[in-house]
Structures are given as C-alpha cells and as structure tokens.
Symmetry: C2
Subunit: 442 residues, 2 copies
C-alpha cells in the first residue's frame, strides 16, 4: 500500500524562466560581461529590495504598469513587488541624499515583476540591468554620450558586431510641437510616431488625421521625420530647417554635442545613428533618448533603451535630481537569442578537470591533487566509482575538458595520465605541468 | 502655491536590508568570494524563480516556516515567495530529472523571504548562498567531506582565521535513541540537546525529565554527550562505547571516514571538530551534519550549516535523490559583522582613476584617455567641471586612488599629471606608464 500524498506538479509558473545548467552558464556569462563593463565605466552596485510599500511604487506607476503589479496585503501592510529598477532607485536616492556623492553613478542588476498576460517572449519575472547617472540639480552632457560608449562596449563584448544605437533628443520634438501648436496632443502623436517602423507611414498619417491634425501640420511633421542622410547630414539638415523655436534649437545643439563626444570616446561610426523618429513614448524623458537594435534581428526590437530625464524623484524629495540611464532586459533578449539559435549552449559544467582515482588506494592522492588544483583556481571535481568508465561518461556528458587518472602505475612513476576529452589526446604529465597547461590554454 | 502631492516616505520596509555604496561593495565582494569558491569546487549555477505556486512550497514547509511565507492570490493563482533555496531545488531536480547528470552539483545564490516578526538581526528578505550535491539513488561519502573543504576555503578567503566547523552524524543519535527505546521522543530530545550551549546542562536535564525520561536514560545520554577530547580521542571513544546498535555503528563508521577524507583534503586540524551535541533540529537530516562558528564571535551562532539527507524531492518525484548541502545566510552574517565593526567599509567607489580635464579644450584628450584605460580594464571616470578643485573633492569623497590632470602644459609635454590621492604624491607619467603602474600595484 502506498500511503503517500499525490505528487505535486514540478513545472515553474508560466512566464518564469528557468534554465538548464548549460543555458544558465551562458546567461551568467552575459550578466558578468554587463556587470564588468558597468564597473569599468565607474558605476557602483546598489541592491534594492524586491518588495516595497505599494504607495512607493504606485506613486510613479501608471496605466498598464499599475495593473501588472503583484500587490498584496500582509497584516496591515500593503506590499508590492517592484516592476522596474528605476522607482526603487528614486526612493533610494531621496532616502540617502545626504550620504551620496553626486554625480551618483549606480548600476543595478536584478529581477523585476510584471504579471502581464502570458504571451510568447513576455516574462513575468525578468532581469533588468540598469545604469543611471544622477546629478544634484545639474548634470553634464558628456554622461549622455558615455552611456552610448557603455552600450557599444557591452554589445561588442557579447559578440554582436552589427548593432545600431539610435539617438535622438526629445527637445527637438517638443520644440516642433510648440511651433506647430500641438503641445496638448504631443503624447498621442509621439506614441504614434514611435510605431512608424511597425505600421508604416500611411497608417501613421491616418492616425494623425484622426487626432484632427491639419494637412500642413502633418506635412511639417513628415518633412522633419523624413530628413535623410548620415549623422552629419542629419545634423546639418536640422540646423538648416526653418524652425525658430528655442527648445528645438536647444535640442539640436545638445544632440550635436552628444554625437561629438560619442566620437571622441571612440565609438565606431556604424554602431550609432541619429534617428529623428525615436520618441520613447512616455513623457518621462526630456532630452537625449536611445534605442538599440541588433541589425540582423530587428524583430527582437530594442535590446537597450533609455534616456535623459529632468527629475528622478519628484514624488519622494524636493531636491531636483536630473539623470540619464539605460536598461537591458536580459531575460527576454536571452530567450530570443536561444530560440533563434544565435546563442548555443556549451558545456553543462564549469569544471575543467575531473580526477578519477582508479582504485580506493588512490583516493588519497586524488583528494590531495584536487585541493592543489583548486588552490590554483582550477575548477576541479573528483569522482570515485570503482569503475573508471562510468566516471569518464560523467565527464563527457557534462563537457569537462580534462580527465586525470591516478592508479598504481601513475603512483610508481610519479606522473598523471591526462586525457583531453575534446581532442581525445592523452599525455603523461607532472602535477606542475598539468597546472601550467591549463593556465596557458584555458 | 504648491499643488504637488505630499511626498511619499522613502524608508525601505523594515527587515529589508539596503546598503550604502561602500557597504554594498563589501557585501558584493563577499558574494563573489563565495561564488568563486563554489565554482572552483565544480558546482554549477542554477537560478530558480522567487515566486512559486503555493502548493509547491507548502508541500515541504511546516510549522513556523509556513506561517512566515509571503502568500497571496492573483487571479485564480495561489502564489508564494520562496522561503529557502532547497524547496525550489527539489522541484527543479524532479522537473529536469532526465536532463541532469548525476551527481548533480549545483550552487544557488539568491534572496529568500520570511515575514517573521521584526527583531534585531532578523531579516525578512535575505541572501542564501547554497550548494548541494544530489545523487541518483546513491551518493558517495567523499562529498560530505568536500563540503567541509568548501566551508574552510570560503572562511579563510573571507579573512576569518579562527573558525570551527563542527561535524556530527545523525545516525549516531538515531542509533542511541533506538538503543534507549526513545525513538518516539527523539525529535523533542534533539531539539533540547541542540540548545545545550545556550541553556546549559542543568536545564537540559530538567527538560528531559519533563519528557518522562528515566534517570538511566538521561545518564546514558549525558555519558555520550560528555565524551571529551580531540577528534581522534572522540572517534576512539565512540568506537569503544558499549552500544550494540547497527545504526549507531554505521554513524560512527561514516563519521570516521568523513574525518579521514577531510584530512586528506588538507583542511587544517583547528578548523574542524567532531561535536556530538550537534543535532540540527529537524528530522530532514539523516547522516552528516555541520555547523560553523566564528571562534571570536560565538554569539552570532552558526554562520554555515547543513548536512546529508536521504531524499530531496519525495513530494515531487518517485526517484530517490539523496543529497548533501550547506547554506550561508550572508545578509545576517554581514549585518552582524558590520555592527561589531569586524567589517569596515572602504571606498564608496570601484573607480581607480578620475580624469580631470583642466579646460574645455582638454575634454577631447580626456575622453580618449578614458576609453583607453577602460579597454585596459581600469575602472575610469571623467569629471569636467571648469573647476578642478571640485572634481578633486569628488574623487576624495568617493575614495578614488588616482586623479589624472590634463591641461595645456600636459598636452605640450605629452605627459599626464598623476596624483595618488592616498599617498598624496604626484608624478608626471606617460599613458603607458600610468597603465603599467595601475596594473602592477592595484
């Protein structure tokens, strides 16, 4: 008789990514690349809680985001799981204002939660990898350019040669809307223009007509959007265009300056591009805006976006805190790249050496060697099975590179039999030779 | 008139740790040390979701833990936040049984949640750093010893010279209880014995009397607990003791074997100790058990605990999956060490070099140098302020080591003025000399 309870289903929740070892290793390597790049650009790590009082998150969330929040009560408390890393940053900077040094350059890598309807490529739990530079009442423009250099470095290191960071400045649109008397409708118009690539110019025009724009207004907008050419030609076009609005002029000036600094930082010309159609929907952004696309996989959409904002934490402090930031949504990017077979998982292990003692008498030597290799920072396992073929199978299944056999022959001759499982070659090496070989080749 | 809403409170939830940059850097360094050690011992990273279906977590949680779970509904779903990393591991191994290679050595570092009453030193969100080795129906004893070598390596690397890993085997207790006819009461008795150090032998005896133990039973228990001496003397004492129970004998044999392998792995004799009073409360553990104490700070309690269990995932699969694992609760440990002033936060930055262009004309050279240093993996910032004293103040406040000035003099002479802000010395160096110096000294 079986008196056990029925087994519980073992699937993770839908919309929650869970990886096998080989994929997880790859994912973590990407996280490490991002983290190391953030650090080399002088950003400092901050780790905020995943749970917040709901009023903190709701102060800034709106519309769709608010509906997606995981919110619940516990005792008298109204709690929510964070839906991004920016709102916790705003609370943090306001809370620690007098202890921080400005410009405050922080990075954060962590999970965020959005309980949206499950659909392909959408996750309810996903990693964001963010950097922001926060100024105290002012912030130099060179940080707007520096973030482009950060994106450039990361996607190069991740092995994507062909990607384009598209850059615009929201003041250009804002000035244009002022000039056209369309400030009231600017949000709707920008959200429509943001979809230009998706739905095409005809549908955009039709939508704009629905907002009661005149033919002349639409024409001016399209004259502007249709400016063509390389970065310098576009900048020249913007300078020549007959719009006499101060905000517009300021936007053009900032964009020109940012492009200049991007070049001084050595970002390759084919990896960035002025794109006057980038608007980044929400009215949060007030200056430079970015989007990044992988040239060969435009259907993935923007893989790194962000921009400049005038005031990070107006809900939490009276201090004015302008900032500029970017975010990489790594979970979705990783998922897409795996599905497209762009990323191919490698070994299911980080282990470089598997030590296989051939008899119980050789266990002692094997254990000592394991400790020695580990002290030399060589990832090492030892498997004793009384059956060296089974141990070898384990190594091959995982993708371990070196199998090291220790038996009586080896003990007498004071050497190790080292088999490279990738090249299928076998050598007799001393411990020191083994360590040298691995340090040089791996 | 101010028409803004009142400001929202910026404090994090109580029981949720949030660190300033200097502390966060230190915390992350400890996390990195733990992670690197886990990897060098051949463990592979796995990252499970923080949210689970409640039935998954409740299948294994019991008593106090169950009350502490953050549980809520969303739509038709009953969700909970994980309270440890072991239950998600059990579900994961059951779910991916046919894709994993056994023994499966995984590490997991992540946040877990327990909504307990707030009290000093207790956290509701905290990091656990776990490793487990999971076997497929069997698992060699050398892994029990290997975990001791892992703990030893980590606490040495973290800079604690004086710590003791206490080791026992639950079979010894279990056999003793069989011999004494106390199996039914064994859980209560073990929980009492676990508190021996806290409440002293007299109170333990009194509690045992309350459980209706006879004088002879209590005497035998104490004869056993009171075995004294170094590791070899204790093992000899155990072998000599007149208890003819098979389970007891098996426990003694395993303990002896584990101690032998620990020595072969080169763990220093003063960092581990057979301790027959370690029981580790719950009936989860079935063999080797560990606790680790910092000798100078016994009041912190165990900083790394764990043990061997017969069956990881009986609620989720019919496969028998024995395992052995340990866990470090880093949040609480870090908090205690900071409060005791054992850990002292250093700089508030990871930046090694701050470049200070003296005039706007030198911005270009500064930006080029920044990119060059970053390519050489030197963490670099550039601050242009038209006021080099303000930039220097920024560097000093953060604790940046090198300030590099670029002005007209430097440009003409083709050198950099490099100030070491720690030693207050200043040098004229070429770019290559600067890179060399930092690579050699930092």
């Amino acid at each position: 008789m079986n008196d056990k309870k029925p087994l519980v289903s073992t699937k993770p929740l839908s919309g929650f990514m869970e990886l096998l070892p080989a994929e997880q290793i790859l994912f973590n390597q990407m996280l490490d690349t991002i983290r190391q790049t953030y650090e080399v650009f002088g950003f400092v790590p901050i780790d905020n809680p995943i749970l917040e009082r709901s009023e903190v998150l709701l102060a800034k969330a709106g519309g769709e985001t608010e509906k997606q929040i995981y919110r619940f009560s516990r005792g008298k408390k109204d709690l929510s799981m964070r839906f991004d890393l920016t709102v916790p940053l705003a609370r943090y900077v306001a809370n620690n204002y007098y202890d921080l040094t400005f410009p405050f350059k922080r990075y954060a890598i962590g999970k965020v939660y959005r309980g949206e309807r499950s659909q392909a490529g959408r996750f309810r739990e996903f990693y964001q990898c963010d950097i922001d530079v926060i100024g105290n009442s002012q912030l130099a423009l060179n940080y707007d350019a520096e973030l482009v250099s950060v994106i450039d470095t990361i996607f190069n290191k991740l092995g994507f040669k062909q990607f384009t960071i598209r850059i615009n400045n929201r003041k250009i649109f804002n000035g244009l809307f002022m000039e056209l008397g369309l400030v009231e409708k600017s949000n709707k118009i920008m959200q429509t223009i943001d979809r230009l690539e998706k739905i095409g110019p005809d549908k955009v025009k039709k939508e704009l007509e629905n907002y009661d724009l005149t033919g002349r207004q639409i024409e001016t907008l399209f004259n502007f959007i249709n400016l063509k050419g390389d970065n310098d030609e576009l900048l020249l076009g913007l300078e020549k265009i007959k719009i006499d609005n101060q905000v517009f002029r300021q936007g053009v000036k900032e964009l020109k300056e940012v492009i200049k600094i991007i070049r001084q930082l050595g970002v390759a010309e084919n990896n960035f591009k002025v794109d006057l159609t980038i608007a980044r929907g929400l009215d949060y952004y007030t200056g430079t805006v970015y989007e990044t696309k992988l040239d060969q996989y435009p259907e993935i959409g923007s893989v790194c976006s962000g921009g400049r904002y005038d005031d990070l934490a107006s809900h939490y402090t009276k201090q004015q805190l302008p900032g500029v930031g970017i975010s990489i949504g790594l979970t979705r990017l990783f998922d897409q790249l795996i599905k497209k077979n762009v990323l191919k998982p490698g070994p299911s292990t980080l282990t470089q050496v598997l030590i296989i003692p051939l008899t119980e008498e050789n266990l002692d030597s094997g254990l000592k060697l394991a400790s020695k290799l580990r002290k030399n920072k060589i990832a090492t396992e030892l498997l004793f099975d009384n059956n060296s073929k089974k141990s070898l199978k384990y190594a091959n299944k995982l993708g371990v590179k070196y199998a090291v056999f220790i038996g009586e022959t080896e003990k007498k001759g004071d050497f190790l039999t080292v088999k490279n499982l990738l090249t299928k070659t076998q050598n007799q090496l001393s411990e020191e030779e083994l360590i040298e070989r691995i340090k040089q080749h791996d």
